[in-house]
């Protein structure tokens, strides 16, 4: 996965785009309960970053996490089954949108707590290296997360102990409805530099630029450099969460939304492919997703009898709550 093949990058952004659109339909139809935080508009970041990683590298994501999971190589069908709460899902239906994880492909999981994954991935990468791998890791987070103390503590640990973690801040301008300028004193790169880290700003709408910048950072890290930060400037095309489709929250001027949507990573990367090639990839993605939807919807729901399965890895059985 470490090459910058334009077709591969296009396939990934297109897959995430269409996955999200399908998922939104399934939210509307009631098949996905609880809604999702769509990654629409930010696809170039997950695609570009993950293309710079090896299979044995690890990533940890966010509440807006589908893109990271897919780009790192999880099966879209099992991912969609997870969102639909099916027993065949990545997490056997126990995690859902905000916890989708596939440790087999190095995805430690989406994470519903903003700022939480930075320290976890730092520990995971440190441990993998102690155990002999030369893996690196990526912590994805939003512009809101840089105000969370736990993430800043993780910057310090990673920098001090030179753990090769790439901190990727997806700055989409808002934390829910809070504009970044009203929330972040100083700057995002400045926060990383304060811990002695190299920080780079990149156009998150351009998958190839994201890839190039990350690949260089990963190469430095792999060669023994410390952690780095990349601020990817992006824009969220849709709602913070699908609940906004029902309740209009007034915080982004329509002109701003239009301007943001005009730089579309799928279009930008698509334009780099010959038409025929792009059409072929689109068809391939469509087929994958049609199969994924079928797989998800045909899959069984987990049995409520097993509601507490997996609660304890040690085999401990919890006392039930009945009277």
């Amino acid at each position: 996965m470490t090459d910058a093949d334009p077709v591969r990058l296009y396939r990934t952004v297109r897959l995430i785009r269409r996955f999200e659109e399908r998922a939104i339909e399934l939210v509307r139809s009631g098949h996905i309960v609880g809604g999702i935080h769509p990654y629409l508009g930010q696809e170039g970041i997950a695609a570009g970053v993950c293309a710079a990683l090896r299979a044995d590298d690890v990533v940890a994501g966010t509440h807006r996490g589908h893109g990271h999971v897919l780009a790192k190589g999880a099966d879209p069908a099992r991912m969609l089954a997870e969102l639909c709460g099916r027993a065949t899902g990545l997490n056997a239906g126990r995690g859902g949108s905000m916890h989708a994880a596939d440790l087999g492909v190095g995805v430690l999981g989406a994470n519903a707590i903003v700022g939480a994954s930075g320290a976890i991935i730092t520990g995971a990468v440190w441990a993998r290296r102690r155990l002999g791998a030369d893996a690196v890791g990526v912590s994805f987070f939003g512009d809101g997360a840089v105000n969370e103390g736990m993430l800043l503590e993780a910057f310090n640990l990673a920098a001090l102990w030179r753990v090769p973690v790439l901190f990727v801040c997806e700055n989409n301008g808002y934390a829910t409805t809070m504009p970044v300028a009203a929330a972040v004193a100083g700057s995002i790169p400045g926060r990383a530099e304060a811990f002695g880290m190299t920080a780079t700003v990149v156009d998150g709408q351009d998958p190839e630029e994201v890839h190039a910048v990350t690949a260089a950072a990963v190469a430095r890290m792999r060669a023994g450099g410390g952690p780095e930060l990349v601020e990817a400037r992006t824009y969220r095309f849709d709602a913070h969460h699908t609940f906004e489709h029902a309740v209009r929250l007034d915080y982004r001027p329509p002109e701003e939304v239009a301007r943001g949507r005009s730089r579309d990573p799928v279009a930008i990367q698509g334009a780099r492919l010959p038409d025929a090639r792009r059409v072929a990839v689109d068809a391939e993605v469509e087929a994958t997703l049609t199969a994924a939807v079928e797989f998800a919807l045909a899959s069984p729901e987990p049995d409520p009898v097993d509601a507490l399965a997996y609660l304890y890895a040690s085999g401990l059985t919890a006392r039930t709550g009945g009277g």
Binding site: G34, G85, E148, M178, A182, A183, Y251
Partner: protein
């Protein structure tokens, strides 16, 4: 008479307290646009200085409120997720709660922590579905869980006026409850005072939060077989022990239904305190979440982990039969 919703009762309580007392102000994430649909209209009426959006810095803004309270203000913090209280547990329990005693009575910390949407929100999964009120009852922080719109109004008003920190949980399962109430009938409800929603002679059912409505439904269903008294503590700490003891002394039987983990939860506390003080004619029973429960994502599993009416019914039948 207008139908008042639980949510709007909270909104009205905040508005009334903001209007009544200049020292009251609100702090939280996305409260200006009212993402949680509780602070609707307040920024327009009271301005952004008193309805303050904060960056994602829960620990700092919780202690910011402590400091503001020490200096004479009466902050109300809205938390978007119950588990954010885990993140600020230190700030509430080790600081706000302890300041008055540790300073030898030099100060008070009148802060209200408001959690609209505690417990399961259906599909929000493991990290967003907790009901951690027992933790605060253990720490000794005043803990309130209103079941009805009028109580939501009256208890929130009292919380804001209380000179100690108060955590108010508004269960997701109660947010859509509506009630016929005259605006003029909305009054402060004293903290630490229980409410009997339905008198009965055979068994006292203590129900917490939204489960009061389930208990009432079950009581109605059983009306021709068992006379069920539905007891709503409203405040879990300090608990209205005298009223409960009076009730159980009459009925001789006790069932508790509580949507929180079983071990060391408030349901266990209710049973312990009652048996210390009142002889029962049958062993008491409780219906709770299982020990150590983590809510799985899939809807059927999520439901299976929460206390159900069938379980409550079974528990009532048991205590009737055993006694």
């Amino acid at each position: 008479m207008p139908r008042l919703s639980y949510r709007r009762a909270l909104t009205r309580a905040l508005a009334d307290e903001l209007a009544r007392d200049e020292r009251v102000f609100l702090l939280g994430e996305d409260i200006r646009v009212a993402a949680a649909n509780v602070t609707s209209g307040l920024v327009k009426r009271f301005g952004p200085e008193r309805v303050r959006d904060t960056p994602l810095s829960e620990q700092a803004f919780t202690s910011f409120a402590t400091g503001a309270a020490l200096a004479g203000m009466r902050p109300v913090i809205e938390f978007q997720i119950p588990s954010l209280l885990f993140l600020v547990f230190e700030q509430i329990v080790n600081h706000a709660h302890k300041f008055p005693l540790m300073t030898g009575g030099q100060c008070a910390v009148p802060v209200t922590y408001l959690v609209p949407g505690s417990g399961s929100r259906k599909g929000w999964a493991g990290q967003h579905s907790d009901h951690p009120y027992s933790l605060f009852a253990h720490a000794g922080v005043t803990t309130v869980v209103p079941a009805t719109p009028a109580d939501a109004y009256g208890l929130l008003v009292s919380a804001v006026r209380c000179d100690d920190p108060v955590v108010l949980f508004a269960p997701a399962g109660a947010l859509d409850v509506r009630e016929d109430v005259d605006a003029a009938a909305l009054v402060p409800v004293p903290l630490g005072r229980a409410r009997v929603h339905r008198p009965g002679d055979d068994v006292t059912v203590v129900a917490v939060g939204h489960l009061v409505h389930d208990a009432l439904a079950v009581a109605e269903e059983l009306a021709d077989q068992v006379s069920v008294e539905v007891f709503d503590p409203r405040t879990l700490y300090p608990f209205d022990w005298d009223s409960l003891v009076e009730s159980v002394a009459r009925t001789g039987r006790l069932v508790v239904v509580d949507d929180a983990n079983r071990s060391c939860g408030v349901a266990g506390e209710v049973i312990a305190t009652v048996v210390e003080r009142v002889p029962l004619v049958a062993p008491p029973r409780r219906v709770t979440r299982p020990d150590g429960a983590v809510l799985p994502f899939a809807p059927a599993l999520d439901r299976a982990v929460q206390p159900g009416r069938d379980q409550l019914l079974a528990a009532i039948h048991h205590v009737m039969k055993d006694g």
